[in-house]
């Protein structure tokens, strides 16, 4: 009997599990479930709860689970004309999610995400063309932060795409939209390179001539300063000498006591100074003290 009880319990447990699998289902927090009864969408369950949901087993009811997390979608790199007739290549990325599974599920066969993205691509592409066509290129790139309308363009595209989705009744909401890549047509890049190259060349030339000019400035300033220093030193020297002469002049009255003697002394000094070295003197016998030789016969040796 005891063995039978154990068998019963185990059996009941297995039946319970089997029944649970057959009659209940659970919904993950990241999912939304659509229940169809004989092929008709009857209810939508988007929030999990603390105990499983009930369903009739197949073929009465069928449960489809859709991912309600934010999906990432990127459109193709397409060329669009801006307001000022520039060709601009853009790719946007879109974060979208299923908000109304009951609408979404029948619209896209079996709730196919791929089908939804195909539709999204068309809508985003239209929105892009419409919005980019309203903005000049300077709204996309601009050094002036106030004139840059990058964010505005993104939100305008998002608004238009969202409105389209609402009109088409897709059960989809765009959570965020941003530009992923910007580009120019290949032929235009070459023009840009040419322009940049010219710009670089101008910059290099500027730097070179600037360097030369500045170096020249420094050199001439240095020369001027040096000249100033020397001339001011010369001036100072002149002043110093002048002071010396002034002091010397104070002594002059002493010589006035006897100008003849002063004169004689000066001349003597001058004579001595001028005959200091490398001098050849030629005298006749009348110059003292050689006048002593006048009475002497020169034919005979003096010593």
């Amino acid at each position: 009997m005891k063995r039978n009880l154990l068998t019963l319990i185990v059996g009941a447990l297995l039946i319970l599990i089997f029944a649970l699998l057959l009659f209940t289902f659970q919904v993950r927090t990241s999912e939304v479930a659509v229940v169809t009864t004989f092929g008709q969408t009857t209810s939508e369950i988007s929030e999990p709860r603390a105990f499983p949901f009930f369903k009739w087993p197949w073929p009465v009811q069928k449960v489809y689970k859709l991912d309600k997390r934010i999906q990432n979608f990127e459109d193709k790199f397409t060329e669009t004309l801006t307001a000022d007739n520039n060709n601009l290549l853009t790719t946007v990325y879109v974060g979208w999610r299923i908000t109304d599974a009951k609408t979404f599920f029948p619209k896209f066969a079996g709730g196919s995400v791929a089908a939804a993205e195909r539709m999204l691509e068309g809508i985003v592409s239209q929105a892009k063309t419409a919005i980019i066509g309203k903005h000049p290129l300077s709204d996309f790139v601009n050094a002036q932060e106030k004139e840059l309308k990058f964010d505005a363009i993104e939100s305008e595209i998002k608004a238009i795409a969202q409105a389209q989705l609402l009109v088409n009744n897709c059960g989809i909401q765009i959570e965020f939209l941003g530009i992923k890549k910007l580009g120019l047509p290949e032929s235009v890049t070459q023009n840009v390179f040419d322009r940049m190259s010219a710009e670089r060349k101008r910059l290099a030339d500027d730097l070179q001539s600037q360097g030369e000019a500045e170096a020249q400035k420094i050199r001439s300033a240095a020369d001027r300063k040096a000249a100033e220093m020397i001339s001011s030193a010369d001036g100072e020297a002149r002043q110093i000498r002048g002071r010396g002469e002034a002091v010397a002049a104070e002594v002059l009255p002493v010589f006035q006591q006897n100008p003849e003697l002063a004169n004689f002394l000066l001349r003597r000094e001058a004579l001595e100074e001028s005959l200091k070295e490398r001098t050849t003197l030629i005298f006749d016998t009348r110059t003292p003290p050689f006048d002593l030789f006048s009475g002497v016969t020169t034919n005979r040796p003096a010593k």
Binding site: T29, A50, F176, L207, G211, M229, F264
Partner: protein
Amino acid sequence: MSNDPQTPPSATSRPDGMDSGSQALAETLRGSFAIVKVVMVVLVAVFLFSGIFTVNPQEKAIKLRFGKPVGEGEKALLGAGAHWAWPYPIDEVKKIPIAEIQRITSTVGWYATTPEMELAGTEPPAGASLNPAVDGYLLTADGNIVHARATLSYRIEEPVRYVFEFVNASNAVQNALNNALLHSAARFTADDLLLNDALAFQDAVRRRVAQLVQEQRLGVAVDLCVVQGRPPRQLKQAFDNVVTAGLGRSKALNEARSYESQVINKAGAQAVAVVNTAEADRTRLVQDVTSDAENFRRLLPKYVANPDLFVQQRLVETMARVFTNAQDKMFLPTSADGRPLELRLLLNREPPKRKTEGPGP
């Protein structure tokens, strides 16, 4: 599961065992019933043990009970090791393959290259233009083209959001980074982005990413954002030339500065020398004059006493000194008739070469 349908038949067969003719059949049934029981026990055991799962060091796990995460925020995360959960209809385990720090790189602004080329430090040959389908680049505020790529490190702050709100959250972070590169480049001129203000650009990218992940509530925190920028390969020469010109400029300036200091130092020394000479001159002049005056005062009484003799004496003294100093001395005796001799001087043609005057008879 496939074994379950066997349970009902075996359960119904049990009461029929009383028939005497079917004794052997009952025996057989009892035997098979024992096997079924074992199978059932094994099934239950498997059912319970299937709830054991392990989490590897590079991943975390979140337990869902009836679809709802167990625990809030950080507590919902199960770390490395063995864990147990109820099998499927009750619990479900979601593993998140993450390390502590996530890293993604955005190459929307980079030319087409391969990891091999990257490692070897080579780059693909540069064509005349950029094919937008292959080569990425950024448009700058002044309409120029530059390359830049960014590597972002981030932490997952809200794992529950990260996993249950986004099909591919790292993809969303990646796109936020792509957008940030684009958006920041649109505000910077090529020169600022590459040369003058590369750090400000990096900072702008970082702030934009942080803002986007906040707005989109991706549940991540931005750690580090490293941006690398470079001019297009097609313009390498042109950009290098500017750098060379810049170097040439600073070289010219340095040379000018060294010339400046040289000239100023020299002039300073010269000025000091001039002043010093003047000072010396002044001292000498004053001393000379003073000593002359002293001398004069001393000699005056002697001169007054007998001027002629005094003059003669001094003159002869001086002569003696002068003759001693003189290099060559010539003495011309008066001719017999008392007339002075005629003397011819032959001056050398090149006086500077010879310091002495050439004497002639």
